[in-house]
């Protein structure tokens, strides 16, 4: 899992993650700065912005689903059935507690911890 970090060319240097983070930060601030510059001149409720919102939602939903179903890093050590069950528990608790995000998140993460811990004994 960690092989891609340890081999390769220039992109394996110690500054590479800082380069990626800086580019990420610029790509983030760009929208905020542009928003200040454009405010009063464009309509925040336009169709174009609705499409932009759809693309962002779809991208993040794809990332979230991938992190749960096909994770990289430490989450790959948990059983995939446990991860999916924990996500389902988080959703169930969220809706049962009148859409309380804090309780849903705590229940989902707690369930994954307990299931992973339980597997050490069975």
């Amino acid at each position: 899992m960690l092989e891609p970090l340890l081999e390769g060319g220039i992109e394996s240097g110690p500054l590479w993650p800082y380069v990626l983070m800086t580019v990420g930060a610029l790509a983030t601030y760009f929208w905020r700065g542009l928003g200040v510059a454009l405010s009063g001149r464009v309509d925040a409720g336009s169709r174009l912005f609705e499409w932009v919102a759809c693309v962002a939602y779809a991208l993040l939903a794809g990332l979230i689903a991938r992190m749960i179903i096909l994770p990289s890093g430490p989450l790959a050590e948990a059983a995939s059935g446990d991860r999916i069950a924990a996500a389902a528990i988080a959703l169930a608790i969220f809706f049962l507690t009148r859409r309380n995000i804090g309780l849903g998140v705590a229940a989902g993460a707690g369930a994954l911890v307990l299931m992973t811990w339980g597997r050490a004994f069975f």
Binding site: P4, V23, T28, R32, L60, E77, A109
Partner: protein
């Protein structure tokens, strides 16, 4: 995050309802106090998760702090870490973060009219726009329109600064906790990232187009990742987002 009642998430916080804090300084302090409560706890906990994710990716704590300091907006930060772990190229990272955070543009455009006041130096707006992210933005949209004009930017700046500081602290805390806690507990911390965003987006999805985008994106994400670990995320966003947007437009026309 609040669903139908705009005052719902102020209820647990001791936010004063008086629309006047006396001075810009008073408004900034009121913003600091206003951020303390459920939103700060939930956001702080999710940055604990981010800190653990940073450690899980084999990076050091300074990188996590650098990310939270400069690129504050959790979805984009997670995208960078995940794509870094996969060995993605600079172009892919830039495009994916830009697409993830493009929502900050309409958010900033919508908020700015409530913060503007003649006489305020323009650079202050550019500086404090760094705090435009879901939680502080929602508070600014709710509180600032009711404040005297000279207190609005100060309130938003105080609120955003407190949240941002808290996130820096919990990023570092999450990183160190992931190093000392047993592996199965660290798993839970890292798991906060996808679970938190899953619920935030489910809670926030009220428009049909956005609900469709979530469903189609979640279905396409994993298989497209298997097709291309590098480009899968970008293609998922563009394809599923456009599909959802188009389907919503067609459905609206049919029922018009």
């Amino acid at each position: 995050m609040n669903d139908t009642d705009p005052s719902a998430d102020t209820a647990p916080a001791p936010a004063p309802l008086a629309p006047d804090f006396g001075s810009p300084r008073g408004a900034a302090l009121a913003g600091l106090r206003g951020s303390v409560g459920v939103p700060m706890i939930v956001l702080g906990a999710s940055y604990l998760g981010f800190g653990s994710l940073v450690r899980g990716a084999g990076l050091d704590v300074w990188l996590g702090l650098f990310s939270t300091f400069t690129g504050w907006a959790l979805p984009g930060q997670i995208v960078v870490i995940e794509l870094y772990s996969l060995g993605a190229s600079l172009i892919v990272v830039a495009a994916a973060v830009a697409m993830t955070n493009a929502r900050l543009l309409p958010m900033t455009v919508a908020l700015m009219p409530y913060l503007r006041r003649s006489g305020t130096p323009t650079w202050l707006y550019y500086l404090f726009s760094h705090f435009v992210a879901v939680t502080a933005w929602a508070a600014g949209m709710r509180v600032c329109p009711n404040l005297p004009p000279e207190q609005r930017l100060a309130y938003f700046a105080g609120f955003g600064f407190a949240l941002w500081s808290m996130c820096l602290v919990t990023t570092a805390l999450g990183f160190y906790l992931a190093g000392v806690l047993p592996g199965f507990v660290t798993l839970g911390l890292v798991f906060l990232n996808p679970i938190y965003f899953m619920l935030v987006f489910v809670a926030d999805a009220r428009h049909r187009a956005r609900i469709l985008a979530l469903v189609v994106g979640a279905l396409l994400g994993p298989p497209l990742h298997l097709v291309s670990a590098d480009w899968g995320l970008l293609i998922t966003g563009l394809a599923a987002g456009s599909l959802a947007f188009g389907a919503d437009a067609v459905l609206s026309r049919r029922h018009a």
